[in-house]
């Protein structure tokens, strides 16, 4: 019995460690994180001898724009030979985890490409401090970069949710997409068109829809709904307009316009569209470079987003930010200033088919798909300010993003009713706002 007790004790200890290590292993006490400033300078991040500066850049790719970025760093080095760069490329879904670990590990990178500044606000360099408050004037409205009077990052490129279609399938079916704003479909018209395309072409499904809250939100903004009140102070989720948007999305799945394997499974919508078996992909402007390089088997193009009671898209984008506690904040800020010059920014935008947020780069001369950029601009201009304001409130979206998506999946699976989902989200949003304000 004694032996058994000892054995059980050992097993229990081992199991404790095994079960907890997965969670705790990546964590460091906040006290350690507070010492980041000193440890970073001791970590080898800074190579300041003889004026040499080493800038680590944490980067993710939509396609292969990292190569383009590296070419720009070489241009920068022509006038600044004392600066060297190191690109740490990570998958997008690992980006924030990796940055968090680097920060709490005391080795923040000098620069990071980010889409969400919310969790990192306390760790980003205030660019106004190094570049002056005029620096913010270089950017158009769109992506929010100023938080509590501090400029935490420079917007690099703007994205806009959009819809790409299989032109070959549409031609097979004898259907054309809207050619101008006056021809934009309502979703009901779109549904009728999809029936025609699926029936008369090689595609199996009408649409694949990226499995993200951000993409889905386009539908509810078009329905006249929003997550928050216009002043962003209270929940506005449980409304008839939101009910209609969620119900419509469920009907699209129930009626077989959308394959269940994306929102209820783990299929990649990008790959499904590229396989040629889907007529349309609800994604966004960032897919342009990917599809130019990857689709050879059929013709494709972007078209206007269908509308409900109003037109809307949702803006998004990427920033480049400098991190505190690296010892090279000033050089990192100088590089951000350099790369944000219109002529330098234009190189990156044109090579990668991105939309710029730099003043003066609104209308670039893209080699491919100039008409698509006009469509993106049109969708964005018709969107109003609420989508950008809500998704720019990143402290908030970080708290509700996962539940918004997962709850919607439960509605599609019949686990939650639409009413239950709206009540659940309304409650979560109210609690999240209370947490933010406490």
């Amino acid at each position: 019995m004694k032996k058994l007790t000892k054995f059980l004790a050992i097993i229990a200890i081992l199991l404790t460690t095994a079960a907890l290590a997965a969670c705790a292993g990546a964590e460091t006490p906040a006290g350690q994180a507070a010492q980041t400033g000193q440890t970073a300078q001791q970590s080898g991040q800074v190579a300041a001898e003889n004026g040499a500066v080493h800038l680590q850049v944490l980067w993710f790719n939509d396609f292969d724009e990292g190569d383009s970025f590296l070419r720009l760093t070489e241009m920068y080095r022509e006038d600044n030979p004392h600066v060297t760069f190191e690109l740490i490329e990570v998958p997008f879904h690992d980006l924030e985890d990796r940055l968090r670990n680097l920060i709490i590990g005391g080795m923040p990178p000098a620069l990071a490409r980010l889409t969400n500044l919310g969790p990192f606000q306390n760790w980003l360099v205030d660019l106004y401090e190094y570049l002056g408050e005029d620096f913010g004037d270089n950017f158009n409205d769109g992506l929010r970069f100023e938080f509590n009077g501090r400029m935490l990052a420079a917007p690099k490129d703007v994205t806009v949710n959009g819809i790409v279609y299989n032109r070959t399938a549409f031609e097979q079916a004898g259907v054309s997409v809207p050619q101008n704003e006056s021809e934009i479909w309502t979703w009901e018209e779109w549904r009728a068109v999809m029936e025609q395309v699926v029936a008369n072409s090689d595609v199996t499904y009408g649409l694949v829809f990226d499995r993200t809250s951000h993409r889905f939100s386009t539908l509810f903004y078009q329905a006249g709904a929003s997550m928050l009140t216009p002043d962003l102070s209270a929940s506005n989720f449980n409304t008839p307009e939101m009910h209609r948007a969620v119900t419509f999305f469920k009907e699209l799945h129930d009626d077989g316009f959308l394959p269940a394997s994306v929102w209820l499974g783990a299929d990649n919508p990008n790959l499904l569209f590229r396989s040629g078996q889907v007529a349309m992909h609800f994604a966004g402007s960032w897919m342009l470079a990917n599809y130019i390089a990857e689709i050879d088997d059929f013709e494709w193009g972007f078209t206007y987003l269908p509308m409900d009671v109003r037109r809307s898209s949702v803006p998004g984008g990427k920033y480049i930010a400098a991190l505190q506690g690296t010892g090279v904040e000033a050089e990192a800020a100088r590089f951000i200033e350099w790369i944000s010059q219109p002529e330098i920014n234009a190189i990156f935008m044109l090579e990668n088919n991105f939309i710029s947020q730099i003043r003066g780069n609104e209308m670039l001369d893209y080699e491919f798909g100039a008409e698509f950029f006009r469509i993106f601009a049109s969708d964005l201009a018709a969107s109003g300010s609420q989508p950008g304001a809500e998704w720019g409130f990143q402290e908030f979206t970080g708290l509700i993003n996962v539940d918004l998506r997962e709850g919607l999946s439960e509605v599609l699976a019949g686990i939650l009713t639409v009413e239950e989902y709206l009540e659940m989200m309304d409650d979560l949003i109210t609690r999240s706002l209370a947490d933010i304000n406490s």
Binding site: L4, F7, L8, I11, A12, I13, L15, T16, T17, A18, A19, L20, A21, A22, C23, A24, G25, A26, E27, P29, A30, A33, A34, E96, D97, R100, I103, I104, P119, F120, N122, W123, T204, Y205, P259, A260, S261, W263, L264, G265, A266, D267, L272, S275, Q277, G398, L399, N401, V402, D403, E406, S409, E410, L412, A413, I415
Partner: protein
């Protein structure tokens, strides 16, 4: 003095391993318990909450759903792994041709990364574009919702998990079977015992220590399943296959609630400890039946 040295010697030999365990296992684990008493986003300063995270777990439908899902998945998968691996082990310890080849074939899935296993089966079982459904529909049948129907997805991952792990436990059970003396079976045959009588009255009782080991290890492995399920179903449909470890990961790294996720991890430990103790009790600590 010599006596003291003799007493100290084993502990000195254990010291390097204990240092490694302390640094990489015990300390993070204790740190996890500490974090579970706080609100923390993984980056900014922690705020002490006491046991609030634990009391919140009781009202959290995502947690209770993941918890009950994990228990159901374990209840299906562990017996399935044990039965499959035992059947394979018995088959391969009998005098059949190319037993070594079959042993290698059955063991092979355990050498493949669980992510690759998940992705491969997703390629085969994808509802809209999977190979199996392609074959089924080409014969004029309706496609099967392998991973987009909640019940079907549960059985799909139980099957794939069994497929990927059975070979590993098969090897352990083969070792256990080979340690049973042939004389028992010879005596039983002389007494006229058939295959099933030999199995129930000789093999199973004498295999009890190894069976306990297989059951404990497979339970711990199955409860902590994560990469394979993530690759195969992503936790879907609608969270039907989102089990404890994925829930902990999502809570910590997507919702940025590290303290709350740590509380879940502590509960998971408690569950594993209880399951292990119950298995020990039921198997009488793996002791063989004296009769």
């Amino acid at each position: 003095m010599k006596n003291l040295q003799m007493r100290m010697f084993p502990y000195l030999m254990l010291l390097p391993m204990m240092i490694i365990f302390t640094l990489y296992l015990f300390w993070p684990a204790l740190n996890g318990v500490w974090i579970s008493l706080h609100s923390w986003d993984g980056l900014n300063p922690m705020a002490f909450l006491g046991l609030t995270n634990y009391t919140q777990l009781l009202d959290d439908r995502n947690f209770t759903r993941a918890f009950s899902g994990t228990m159901i998945f374990t209840a299906i998968t562990v017996p399935s792994i044990y039965v499959t691996s035992l059947a394979l082990a018995i088959m391969l310890t009998r005098k059949i041709k190319a037993a070594g080849l079959f042993r290698a074939i059955f063991y092979w899935p355990t050498m493949v990364s669980s992510i690759i296993v998940g992705l491969s089966w997703r390629f085969l079982l994808g509802e809209s574009f999977g190979l199996v459904n392609f074959v089924i529909t080409s014969f004029g049948f309706e496609p099967v919702r392998w991973v987009t129907n909640a019940n079907m997805a549960l059985f799909t991952i139980a099957f794939v998990t069994t497929w990927s792990l059975a070979g590993y436990y098969m090897v352990m059970l083969i070792a256990g079977l080979k340690s049973i003396s042939e004389t028992y079976y010879e005596a039983a045959e002389i007494d006229g015992a058939n295959f099933w009588q030999q199995f129930f009255f000789i093999t199973l009782p004498l295999l009890r220590p190894m069976s306990l080991l297989v059951l404990v290890l497979s339970t711990v492995t199955v409860v902590r399943s994560f990469p394979l399920i993530l690759a195969l179903t992503g936790g879907g449909p609608a969270g039907a296959t989102r089990f404890m470890v994925q829930q902990i990961h999502e809570t910590g790294f997507s919702r940025l609630q590290m303290g709350y996720a740590s509380a879940m991890a502590v509960v998971l430990f408690g569950v594993l400890a209880i399951l292990t103790i119950v298995q020990f009790r039921l198997n009488r600590g793996g002791e063989q039946d004296a009769n």
